[in-house]
C-alpha cells in the first residue's frame, strides 16, 4: 500500500472511530422508532371516522414523532391519542394531554440519565413509570432526594426500576395528602429491604386505600416504616385489610417481667333471693282456621 493509500485508510479508520463515538446516542434514538406506519394509518383512519380532519390528525401525530426522535417511548402516547379519539374528545384537548404526557416522559428520561440510571435499551417501563410518578405530583427534586436517601441507606446500587417504583409509590401516598417527607422515608425503607417495583406500587396504593386511617391517626407512616424495617413483607403489611399501627417504644411498654401488684379481693356479692316460680299460663284457645288460610 502506498502513502496515499495508507492516508486514505487512516482517514477512513478515524471516520469509523468518530462514528463509533456517536453510536450510543444514535442507538438510543434508533431504539424508539417513530410511529409505525400501520399505527399511523390506524390513527388517521380512526380520526377520519370521528370526523377529525387530516390536518388535525397530523397535528396529533406530531408529538409522537418528536418523542420518537428523542428516543422516548411512543406506545403510551399513541395509546392516549387513540383513547382521546374513541372517547370523542376534542382534538385540541387530545393534543394538550399528549404533549403533557410527552413532557413527563422527557423529564423522566432526563432524570434517569442525570442519575446514570438509564433503562436498558428496549425497556421503557422505568421511564413510563417515572413519568407517571411525575404526572401524579412528585417533583424532580423529590425523586433526587428519594435516590439520595436510598443510595445512602442501601448496600446495593439502586436500579432504575426500583427508583421508578418508589417514585410512583411516593406519588400515590402524596395523592392521599400525607406528608411527603414521611412518605419518602417509607419508600426508602422499602427500597432498602429489597421491595420490588410492583410491591412499592402496591404499598403506595394500600396507603391511599387507607387514607382516612392515616389522616385520622389510626395508622401512621412511621408505623408503616417501622414495620418494613422489622422485615415485614408487602403481603404481611396490610394483612386482614388493616394498616400496621405504631409500635410503642420499649420504654413506654410495661415490662412483663415486673410483677403486677395483686388485685384486692372482690367483696363477696350477696346471694340473690330465689326467683318466685312463674305461674302457669292459661291455655290459649285454638285459633280459628279461617284466619290462616292466606
Amino acid at each position: 500500500m502506498n502513502t496515499c493509500g495508507r492516508m486514505r485508510a487512516a482517514w477512513l479508520a478515524s471516520l469509523c472511530l468518530a462514528a463509533g463515538g456517536l453510536l450510543p446516542g444514535a442507538a438510543r434514538a434508533a431504539a424508539q422508532p417513530p410511529v409505525a406506519p400501520a399505527d399511523r394509518d390506524a390513527i388517521v383512519r380512526l380520526a377520519a371516522e370521528r370526523g377529525v380532519t387530516v390536518e388535525d390528525a397530523e397535528t396529533l401525530l406530531r408529538p409522537l414523532d418528536e418523542a420518537g426522535a428523542k428516543g422516548l417511548p411512543v406506545a403510551p402516547l399513541a395509546n392516549k391519542v387513540r383513547e382521546g379519539l374513541v372517547k370523542g374528545a376534542d382534538p385540541r384537548r387530545i393534543d394538550t394531554v399528549v404533549r403533557q404526557m410527552a413532557g413527563h416522559l422527557g423529564a423522566a428520561d432526563a432524570l434517569l440519565r442525570e442519575m446514570n440510571l438509564s433503562a436498558p435499551p428496549g425497556r421503557d417501563e422505568p421511564v413510563v413509570l417515572l413519568a407517571d410518578a411525575l404526572s401524579g405530583g412528585v417533583t424532580s427534586n423529590e425523586v433526587r432526594e428519594l435516590r439520595r436517601q436510598a443510595q445512602t441507606a442501601g448496600t446495593t446500587p439502586l436500579a432504575s426500576d426500583s427508583l421508578a417504583g418508589a417514585a410512583k409509590g411516593l406519588a400515590l401516598i402524596k395523592s392521599a395528602s400525607l406528608p411527603p417527607a414521611d412518605a419518602t422515608a417509607v419508600m426508602v425503607e422499602a427500597v432498602r429491604h429489597g421491595y420490588r417495583s410492583h410491591e412499592m406500587l402496591e404499598l403506595g396504593r394500600q396507603v391511599k386505600r387507607h387514607e382516612r386511617d392515616y389522616r385520622d391517626g389510626i395508622a401512621s407512616l412511621r408505623g408503616l416504616r417501622e414495620a418494613i424495617a422489622r422485615g415485614e413483607r408487602p403481603d404481611q403489611l396490610f394483612a386482614g385489610g388493616r394498616p400496621p399501627t405504631v409500635e410503642r417504644p420499649a420504654e413506654a411498654r410495661p415490662d412483663p417481667a415486673v410483677e403486677r401488684p395483686t388485685r384486692p379481693a372482690r367483696p363477696e356479692t350477696p346471694e340473690r333471693p330465689a326467683r318466685p316460680e312463674r305461674p302457669e299460663r292459661p291455655q290459649t284457645p285454638d285459633r280459628p282456621e279461617a284466619g290462616r288460610a292466606r
Binding site: K80, G84, K87, K208
Partner: protein, 129 residues
Amino acid sequence: MARLDYPALPMRRLWPLFAALLVTNACAAARSSLAPLVTPAGVRFVLEQPDAHSVAVAGTFNGWSPSSHTLRLDGARKRWTLVVALPPGEHLFMYVVDGAWLTPPDADDYVEDGFGARNGLVVVPPAER
C-alpha cells in the same frame, strides 16, 4: 314484688327483618365482587347492567377498542362477564355500555383520563418464580 310480664318473642314476625339483613349483606358482597378479578386464566371483568344490549371493555390493553372485547351476559345472574388474558402490570380500562363510556363501578384504583372522565385500573401482579 311487681312482676314484669314480657311478651313471648314473635319469631315469626321477625323473619322479614332477618331476610332484609341477609339481602343487604348479599348485595354488599355482590357489589364488592364487581372489581376485576385476577384469575389464573386472566382478568375477569364483571358488570351489572341487566338492561344493556351490549357491553364491552376497552383499555390500554386493546388500544381502547370499544368493540374488540365484548362481555357475555350471564342470564341467570344478570351480569356481563369476560375473562381477558393480560400481561403483568397496570391496565387502565372503561366499560362501553350500548356505545356509552362508563367508569367501572369498582376497580383497584382510578385515574383521571384527561378528557373529563375517570379510568379504572386493574393491577396484574407478576407471576411468582
